[in-house]
Amino acid sequence: MTDETLLLEMRNITKRFPGVVALDRVNLNVKRGEVHVLVGENGAGKSTLMKILTGAYSKDEGQIFFMGEELHVKNPREALDRGISMIYQETSLVPHLNVAENIYLGREPLFPSGWLNKSKQYDWAEKILKKLHLCFLPTTQITKLGIAQRRMVEIAKALSADSKIMIMDEPTAALTKAEIDELFSLISQLKKTGISVIYISHRLEEITEIGDRVTVLRDGQKISTNEISDVDILSLIRMMVGREVDETLYKKEDVKIGEECLRVEGLSRRGDLNDINFTVKKGEILGIAGLVGAGRTELVRAIVGADPIDRGKIFIEKKEVKIRSPHDAISAGIGFLPENRRDDGLALDLSVKDNITLANVTRFTRFGWISKSSENSESETYRKDLKIKCQQLNQSVKFLSGGNQQKILIARWLITNTKILICDEPTRGIDVGTKAEIFGLINQLAKKGVAVIMISSYLPEILTMSDRIMVMREGCITARFEKEDANQEKILHYATVG
């Protein structure tokens, strides 16, 4: 019923999440023995599509055909049994077990009596390692292996499960050039045995090296599928970003840019950050662009003292400050809206009011005793100003929407008289209307002379909200732009290959 050479065909896949269409009638087909590359910006729908394929998400519409039959899988386990396996970026190996035990985890060879057949397990594991030309023993504990080798073990695990198709999500992340070459030769071997690979990567230059065909996704839609030989990096970038920017929704207001407020010199941490230098002025918004894992979050967490640094100096209003903990950063006037509100921002059991005043309760205390009335009235002011929708200040923040939770965190820094506000993905998971409100608040702060650093993976946001833009890649700053000089193509170029 389908083309003989096709291994997998996904037809008209649609997936909706509350408020967004994550995938809109997406088609994808993969041939036997090909490396099919999937590219797109953060949030383009790549991982959602793969999660549907492996059964981690259910699709709302569409059909999947695999080896000529329609496929219905309810969870990754079933997908694995059918021959679809996922090689995760974050390794899913159990660190304290050895290679063979990990390869056969959950599928251990047993004696008929139910006891583990260890010798068989090691024999099998050895065969697979040999087949992949991997030179470590099946008895090696995972903790003794490097990242590259761990990823190879994952591939061996997938192979042992008789996979027909392997999905690799950023398999070269954190690998050295030599390790990447090793991985690529492994992938070529897989191809020869008729196994197909869906290869997700942001590193456009390596795609041409390893891929056979490439599919571009953008904002939940399939843009195109091409033979690799028919495209180049520039055309790929153009397809990835080619959306119109809605400038009317939010825009940086013109404000007078003042004196230098924050200067970072030579900030470094081994493996994460490499000699970062930049300044932000009062009233200015500095956008930091880059792909997930480029070191943007690591950079701001280092500035706010959440993680240690190896080297580097931070100056606030031209005076050097030593920041060893978030406490020091707050005393120096730095506020931080973390990327992950629920894990790093909110105390979910606490009330709206308690969360607003968390970083600055001392303002309402005398000998440690909290003056509830002034705390309440001050919080109430912010609730009204920021239009935080909640029944009462004393209700727990647990049940509020993402937008309201973000406003509470913004209120936390407003109440603290912040000089520098660092926002890491400030609109993640927030609906369009509230987004505009959040940007309105950021604008207001800039107007008051606050220096703002904003990380966003959504380029239109960066382009419309920033005065200046800095692009990061692999822990380094790869480009700096004035607002007028920047566009999506340039930014993405420096974020992926620069």
Binding site: V304, D343, L348, D349, I370, Q391
Partner: protein, 329 residues
């Protein structure tokens, strides 16, 4: 106003009612228990018996208040029973050695606080699980109490000392008065003092608290000092009531205090819990024991009953949590 918004308000109303009643569940359980026991035993509702329950509950309740701080901060203190014994022994030995009563009392409480400080210090600086450190302290404090006394009770304590545990002021037993004062102070600290606010914040989300500039180590240590200090006070009180320093006093009390806190609605995951809840929890445990005694239920069966109540309370807590999670949508 459209129907959807109206429905939402209704749901919110329902939510707040449900949450309100859920919070009162331990209290209602206590009331129901009182009624049943009053019905089964005519002696239960006599003033004498109620005061007995009050005296019996005071030692556990005082320790449980310290435990409440610790559990809200997402920790646990297994050492309180042993610290109680060590504190009691220290004051008893000092008094027998001729030290003034008041000084001996302060020394006892001081030793308890110091044990708490050690707990807190190692937990925060060494980043080691509270369970392990306080388990170690549980052994160490008990061992010290036994070594100091050679394993024997300390007799011959001064007359005036016994007033703390056995005296009455306006007819009210002193332990009940001391407990009440501590309840009020602890309640105020937890609800109106920065220490209480930070305790909840640390227990609810330690990373958010840290990123808000809260000195986690300092406040976490403070919480264990409070627990140790209150165990010390309970130790002095118990020693006074028995007019004897018992090195084996308070064995197993740590579990009673944890049970009281959990029955009172605190979460072992931290961030939730109240002083009032803990007191009700402590009263539920004491009333159960008292009722069982009045009804001539053997001590062996009492263990089973109390064990079952603890499991029920924690199970209910889990159900409640899942329930409120779904309410939140």
């Amino acid at each position: 106003m459209n129907i959807k918004a109206f429905k939402k308000i209704l749901i919110n109303k329902r939510q707040s009612y449900i949450l309100f009643f859920e919070r009162l569940t331990p209290f209602f359980s206590l009331v129901i228990m009182f009624l049943i026991l009053g019905f089964l035993s005519p002696y239960f509702f006599t003033l004498n018996n109620l005061l007995t329950i009050g005296i019996q509950v005071s030692v556990i309740a005082i320790m449980a208040i310290g435990q409440t701080f610790v559990i809200i901060s997402a920790g646990i203190d297994l050492s309180v029973g042993s610290v109680l014994a060590l504190s009691g022994i220290i004051s008893a030995v000092l008094m027998r050695g001729g030290c003034p009563t008041s000084l001996a009392i302060i020394a006892g409480i001081g030793v308890g606080s110091f044990c708490g400080f050690i707990n807190g210090f190692i937990i925060t600086r060494g980043k080691i699980a509270p369970f392990i450190i306080t388990l170690g302290m549980m052994g160490i404090a008990r061992g010290l109490a036994l070594i100091i006394t050679g394993g024997n009770p300390v007799f011959g304590l001064p007359e005036n000392f016994s007033f703390l545990g056995n005296g009455r002021i306006f007819g009210i037993p002193v332990p009940i008065i001391i407990m009440s004062i501590i309840v009020v102070i602890a309640y105020l600290f937890l609800s109106r003092h920065i220490l209480g606010r930070y305790t909840y914040a640390i227990g609810s989300n330690v990373e958010a608290a840290r990123l808000s500039g809260i000195d986690i180590n300092r406040y976490n240590t403070a919480v264990y000092i409070i627990s140790g200090m209150l165990a010390g006070i309970a130790g002095v009180l118990l020693t006074s009531r028995l007019v004897t320093g018992q090195p084996t006093a308070g064995t197993g009390y740590e579990l009673d205090t944890i049970a009281a806190v959990v029955i009172g609605g605190a979460s072992l995951m931290g961030g939730q819990g109240t002083i009032i809840g803990t007191i009700i929890g402590a009263f539920i445990m004491a009333t159960l024991r008292n009722g069982c005694n009045l009804l001539n239920i053997s001590a062996f069966w009492q263990l089973i009953i109390i064990g079952a109540v603890i499991i029920l309370a924690v199970y209910y807590d889990q159900v409640r949590r899942r329930h409120s999670a779904t309410l939140g949508g």
